[in-house]
């Protein structure tokens, strides 16, 4: 669906994206995470056709996006800083989008208005931050896009609405094969929702992986060797991190936790317990493994 090859975007002498290459499949929920200023929003704006790429190519189903009305018809972008026409109500905005998006469905709009507790006749400026988010998502879904871009989409939504939005997204993806690209700093949320995640750092994709593979690919093991243990005894494991505290060992290992604990028990551990890593832990360790000082990076 989306194919970015060697994508470059500069602002003055600042390089926001440097040769970013990635590919996002149709019907998937792709989560984009990264440090502040890593280029997540820039990438979304390039996909939405707001910016012209300075280098490389960005194609959606084989076509460039910039100034391409046919492609932009199929994309809806819920930006980080929302914009509504001055003095408009939701009904006014729906009228505006109806004129732009051929796919806009009034039936869907009415249904969504029943789901979200918002007054469609009230001026959007009177809405709270979270209600404005809801309004933007509601209008986006009513436009029935093939590609939905969500920049910090869950920001400001209460837990009940988060649940509702997740269900709505699941339904859209299953029924119309909508593709969703979502950025967030809330890794917990992405973990449950996405099927692929990409970690962006300094304008590049540091790594991207399928989420189940990612979660099953690493584990944290806690083991005890009262007799002490030499490094050579750990050689059978693909270690990412080792920390020792007397006879206690804390390991981050590539592989399944059951295999790792079994190996340690066979080497004489009194106990060895492994748990899969959370997405947050994977990212922190993966960034550390490639030499980034993660202490300076805020997720």
């Amino acid at each position: 669906m989306i194919q970015a090859t060697g994508l470059v975007k500069c602002f003055g002498d600042f390089t926001a994206l440097s040769e970013l290459t990635t590919q996002i499949q149709k019907g998937s929920i792709y989560g984009l995470v990264g440090s502040n200023g890593s280029g997540k929003s820039t990438f979304l704006r390039l996909i939405a056709g707001v910016y012209i790429p300075d280098g490389g190519t960005l194609q959606i189903d084989g076509q460039a996006v910039y100034e391409n009305i046919a492609v932009k018809q199929r994309i809806f972008f819920v930006a980080d800083d929302l914009y509504f026409l001055p003095q408009s109500s939701m009904n006014d905005m729906a009228g505006f989008y109806r004129g732009i998006y051929h796919n806009f469905s009034d039936e869907r709009y009415q249904k969504l208005c029943d789901i979200f507790p918002l007054d469609p006749k009230k001026k959007i400026t009177t809405f709270s931050k979270g209600m404005k988010r809801q309004a933007a998502l509601l209008l986006g879904l009513a436009c029935q896009p093939d590609l939905l871009l969500l920049d910090e989409a869950f920001d400001g939504l209460d837990p009940v609405m988060r649940g509702a939005v997740r269900k709505l997204l699941s339904d859209e993806i299953a029924s119309r094969e909508m593709t969703v690209l979502i950025t967030s700093h809330n890794l917990r949320e992405l973990e449950d929702l996405c099927d692929h995640v990409g970690l962006l750092h300094k304008g590049r994709i540091l790594f991207e992986r399928e989420i189940d593979e990612l979660k099953l690919g690493f584990c944290k093991v806690h083991a005890a060797f009262p007799e002490g243990i030499g490094d050579e005894m750990l050689s059978g494991l693909d270690l990412m991190q080792v920390s020792r505290n007397g006879s206690l060992l804390n390991l981050i290992v590539r592989g399944r936790s059951a295999d790792a604990s079994e190996y340690l028990l066979s080497k004489g551990a009194v106990f060895a317990e492994g748990v899969p890593l959370t997405l947050e832990e994977v990212f922190v360790h993966e960034m550390e493994a490639v030499g980034y000082d993660y202490n300076n990076i805020i997720f």
């Binding site: 019907g27 998937s28 929920i29 649940g163 997740r166 269900k167 699941s170 339904d171 993806i173 299953a174 029924s175 449950d192 929702l193 996405c194 099927d195 989420i211 189940d212 979660k215 099953l216 028990l265 009194v270 106990f271 748990v275 899969p276 890593l277 959370t278």
Partner: protein, 124 residues
């Protein structure tokens, strides 16, 4: 019909496979019963449809379900689900017993636990 633990470290994909296998082995979902469609289950649980799809494919690969093209997934007849669960139980028992052995439990102590569990079942 399913409960997932979204706080758990266990991936949703694995939780789905486990829960459905349990329901099938307990006979809650009988042979040839249709499973909810990927769309329905994903929407009800608020999870990614691709994850549900993947879990369904894995269940089919393990022979616990079968699919009819254009109609969805159905529970396969036979003891597939029960066998998988008993294998998992055996593994859990082995782990628990090895841990007990390491902490110094004797064979008779372990036997006592086993027989008390089985006698409970008889009295019920």
């Amino acid at each position: 019909m399913l409960q997932l633990d979204l706080q758990s470290r266990q991936p949703i994909y694995e939780q789905l496979i486990l829960r459905l296998t349990e329901l099938i082995s307990l006979g809650v979902l009988e042979a040839d019963t249709q499973l909810p469609s990927v769309r329905t289950l994903a929407r009800d649980l608020g999870v990614n449809p691709n994850t549900v799809q993947k879990a369904y494919q894995e269940l089919e690969r393990r022979g616990i379900t079968y699919s009819v093209s254009g109609r969805g997934s159905f529970v396969a007849p036979g003891e597939g689900a029960r066998e998988i669960l008993s294998r998992q139980s055996v593994e859990k028992i082995r782990d628990a017993v090895s841990e007990g052995k390491r902490t110094g439990l004797t064979r008779p102590q372990v036997d006592e636990v086993v027989s008390s569990v089985y006698s409970e079942e008889v009295s019920v």
